[in-house]
């Protein structure tokens, strides 16, 4: 024992060099190989890889409040907790047959997963990944987000309902909001945790909820949107994310049209439309809200356009390469990382000059997630 202690003491100076903060780290999903690349945002470099995470197509992840652990939601129902410092999987459960995203509670103690098969949401202890609640819905669930007050909010694709699960007590207390519309395909929560918006596939427009209301009622947004105009076939469902708010306006991808929609965040009236290169998949506001970056559905997915918040006009267009799947801003927005799936790399651009600053190799990269997400509601 004494020798072990001595060895430990001798090792201490070396350990000092190994202290590593995680504030500028991130993870890139390698969708086909079931792995994650650990990246250093300041160095614009990959620093490691975590493997063995199952089917990561359409995978997403959230971070623990200390930014050391990530909870990875795989398509195959796998929920994995990874340590980004030791680059190990520290816990993993196969919690369902087919999943689509998840969320972590505001206090960091609960992780919820949205499931297609069986439909519903399951909630796990963030430390152990032991299941603490099962919320069956008899429907595919989408648009799962964390809301303030230890709550999760999610929406039922087949039933057009949004459920608010309050997790403060021993059992989840569920508030069901009906009449959200036909086939809601995704949802977002604004950064203040107040406004939840679902996009509708089965009808025109969107539906908003005011979560500050004791009994939230569906608020129809742009109900006549797109009517009378011919819809294009939709080869890829758009995504809605909490990055969609740009200085008092929401900017949202239109379904089946080559445009993004601008909506006044205070009264949900339309403030404009911007014609785009193709059908938008992500329309993401730079953290300061000044710019919105848009990528597109197959077969126009080699292009990214940048829209100015002030004029609603496209101010820049670039073609990073085939299959641009995701974009992630550095926390203050000076750079953006863009995954180019079919080129097996992630490109890094300056958001002011649009100059390419670097690239990181990754196998079929999709989602990019920086640890600063740990401190944002609804991501």
């Amino acid at each position: 024992m004494k020798y072990v202690l001595l060895a430990l003491l001798m090792a201490t100076p070396a350990l000092a060099d190994e202290y590593r903060a995680t504030g500028d780290l991130g993870l890139i999903v390698e969708r086909a190989t079931g792995s994650l690349v650990v990246v250093d945002q300041s160095d614009r470099a990959a620093i490691g890889r975590i493997e063995g995470l199952g089917d990561l197509s359409h995978a997403s992840l959230v971070y623990s409040p200390d930014e050391r652990y990530a909870y990875v939601f795989g398509r195959d129902g796998g929920l994995s907790k990874v340590d980004i410092l030791s680059r190990e999987i520290v816990a993993r459960v196969l919690q369902a047959g087919n999943s689509i995203g998840g969320a972590i509670s505001d206090d960091g103690t609960l992780v919820a997963v949205s499931n297609y098969e069986p439909g519903g949401v399951r909630v796990f202890d963030a430390k152990t990944l032991e299941m603490v609640a099962d919320i069956p819905t008899a429907s595919k669930t989408i648009g799962l987000v964390d809301a303030p007050g230890r709550r999760f909010v999610f929406t039922l694709w087949d039933k057009g309902e949004t459920w608010i699960a309050d997790m403060k007590g021993a059992e989840p207390a569920i508030t069901k909001v009906t009449g959200m519309g036909t086939n809601p395909y995704d949802a977002l929560l604004a950064g203040d945790g107040r406004t939840y918006i679902t996009g509708l596939f089965g009808e025109d427009g969107l539906t908003a909820l005011d979560l500050w209301d004791e009994t939230p009622e569906p608020i129809r947004v742009l109900p006549g949107y797109g009517r009378g105009e011919e819809e294009l076939p939709v080869y890829k469902m758009p995504h809605l994310e909490g990055w969609a708010e740009a200085a008092g306006e929401f900017v949202l991808p239109a379904v089946g049209h080559h445009e993004v929609l601008w909506i006044d965040a205070s009264d949900f009236t339309e403030t404009g439309r911007t014609q785009t290169h193709g059908q938008p998949v992500f329309a993401m506001a730079r953290p300061d809200g000044r710019q919105v970056w848009v990528n597109f559905a197959h077969p126009l997915n080699d292009t990214v356009q940048v829209i100015d918040r002030m004029t609603h006009e496209v101010i820049h267009e670039m073609k990073p390469g085939p299959a641009v799947l995701h974009m992630e801003f550095t926390p203050r927005g000076h750079e953006v990382w863009i995954s180019v799936r079919d080129e097996n790399r992630v490109d890094i651009y300056d958001t002011e000059t649009f100059e390419k600053l670097g690239e990181v190799a990754a196998e079929s990269p999709s989602g990019i997630f920086f640890t600063a997400r740990a401190h944002r509601t609804g991501l």
Partner: protein, 101 residues
């Protein structure tokens, strides 16, 4: 668009059985990546229904090809006719039923 048209013409000129290896690779990729965005990369389902050989065991390739080309109205399944030829759709239908072929 012009290149798509060229591909379409090229596709029409080829009998299904003689699909070039490069075309087969391209279509396999399209199935995994683009069909996969709704049906799952492994085709076990997602927002769209599962498309595994077991699920499709009783389906006729011609029927599947027509769903691929014309979509399913009232659902999220879009028509792929603007992007695929009839031969390519039939190739995909057969490939879904038997990926080893």
């Amino acid at each position: 668009m012009r290149s798509l048209l060229a591909l379409a013409i090229l596709g029409l000129a080829l009998p299904a059985a003689a699909m070039e290896a490069t075309d087969a690779a391209r279509l396999e990729r399209l199935v995994a990546q683009d069909c996969g965005s709704c049906h799952g990369l492994t085709l076990k389902g997602g927002l769209g229904s599962p498309l595994t050989p077991e699920v499709l065991a009783d389906a006729e390739p011609e029927g599947l090809a027509s769903i691929i080309l014309d979509g399913v109205p009232g659902t999220a399944m879009p028509p792929w006719r603007p992007l695929l030829t009839e031969e390519e759709a039939l190739w995909i239908a057969r490939y879904l039923k038997d990926p080893s072929q």
